[in-house]
Symmetry: C2
Subunit: 343 residues, 2 copies
Amino acid sequence: MTPQPLPLPATASATVVSLRSRAFGRRGGMAMQRGSRRVALRPRYGTGPVVAEVGYLWCGAPDAPTVIVQGGISACRDVVSLEEGEPAGWWQELVGAGRAIDLECCRVLSIDWLAPESLGVGAVSSEDQADALAALLEELGIGRAHAFIGSSYGAMVALAFAARHPQAVDRLVLLAGAHRPHPLATAQRSVQRSIVRLGQQSGNVDEALALARQLAMTTYRGSEEFARRFEHAPELRDGRFRFPVEDYLDHAGKRFVERFDAERFLALSESIDLHDVAPEQVAVPATLIGFPSDRLVPLADLCELQRRLRGVATLEVVDSPYGHDAFLKETRKLAPLLRAALA
Amino acid sequence: MTPQPLPLPATASATVVSLRSRAFGRRGGMAMQRGSRRVALRPRYGTGPVVAEVGYLWCGAPDAPTVIVQGGISACRDVVSLEEGEPAGWWQELVGAGRAIDLECCRVLSIDWLAPESLGVGAVSSEDQADALAALLEELGIGRAHAFIGSSYGAMVALAFAARHPQAVDRLVLLAGAHRPHPLATAQRSVQRSIVRLGQQSGNVDEALALARQLAMTTYRGSEEFARRFEHAPELRDGRFRFPVEDYLDHAGKRFVERFDAERFLALSESIDLHDVAPEQVAVPATLIGFPSDRLVPLADLCELQRRLRGVATLEVVDSPYGHDAFLKETRKLAPLLRAALA
């Protein structure tokens, strides 16, 4: 994973450097690659071209058009799992044979987000992620994706991708993500990062990362959902009052620490706040999907994005009690919208 | 401030115990007492009656009706300052001769919130604050207040007061506070308290308390307000990106640490979450004032409170970009509503 400065001319910054596939499977007419490739890019906050290893999943009908699917900062390339007995992918209900993102008609491509250490830089940008995806498309011989479906940070990266590589994608589908973060959401993430940094200083990284995640959960989930699930009296436990929502938050914090790293969290959280793409630079047709209960990415910001995009853009508003996480929870309501956008 | 168990019969739990006034002033026909009294009460989470010292301010036209005014957990009794050269009170623009709460026609009474240590208990309730106020009314010979104007936690205490001491108040004015906390707000405060407790464990109390306050600020202020004030690009400073909102949050956190104590914060924050008054128990007429941009106390909760109160209740909805803090910021819009409620 060590970055290697590469003496490439600027025009070759997306050139394939090496190929190492870790997995290749075939199940009932589906092809699956789960591997990594080394790609060259020029990080926004770097001093020149570097080579980075990108972990990816590419699966679906062989030779079918490719659809890029990217989620939030804590999502990985495992959008879907095709192996029995493996944990489900993070969008398992929407991706598969006959599902909204139909693996009999398309192939899904997704990457693990790059972190600054793999680029040899201090900060990673949504543009870096976009450039890595563009380089990977070329490396895999895809050339042009049928669509880029991005949710949350994935939507930000999709916009950066369309602004920088308009020839590489036919259509955008952007869920709960916009051209810039809302300043209130930046404030909330800033506090999360400060909690983690305080934990690093005082040797309580795990506890601090768990608390940052607890705070994040209060911004992801809907207000109505909290009201419905946690409206009960507190219990006196271990000498202090415990409120019903605290067990939920504790659990979410601990689970996150088991699967996530503090430095990676700091970098990807910051990357959201550094994101800033002028919608006027994006001419690729787009379907925007927003949720009125999303307090992290207010619907007003998607309205502004729609108004300012240079290409044709439609905005679909999906009612949900689940706030920002509606992109993960409202699979039934999202399915027809995704089908229509991909048709 | 050491609590003293007092062998009083239950019926005498509001008996005056002693009197020590620290200040008495008179300015242009106004009387001012800023002192403390010892009052007896039975704390909700205690085992029997105790005596606690209550710091209070009582000022206005001599012999005029008394209006109790209480603010949020970080507010003190200094609703208004009548001395030249002293810092302004937290509702200075609304309280004074000729102002909405007109000190030529009434006297304002306000207390410093009780903390658990002054009651010898582990947790303090909104009922305890209400009982202390009721005991103080009796101690000062007021008997019955013309109104109880409570904002935020102060509104919760006002409801507890009206439920427990209906004979002691003619009218309630409740701003941005309801019969119970919203579970999402409880979640946000729970994370704040966990930050402070983690800081206490690791010897970083001040930094942790400042971070908890930063988080609180993200819940107090309006989303629109953040968008308008902090929509600028970050600066690279001291080796990392600084977002404009971070300077604001840092400043707010540091200022809070200078004037507030971690234990007091933990107790009063928890007291909000322990608050639970059945509106059906409150027959005192009430004016509710809510702000659609208040994410901490959603307007829907004030609608529910209005519907369930036993007495006549009106709900005034005040548009504001300032969120929960509109009760502090929208003095011009609040003035006529307060005048009408007190008339």
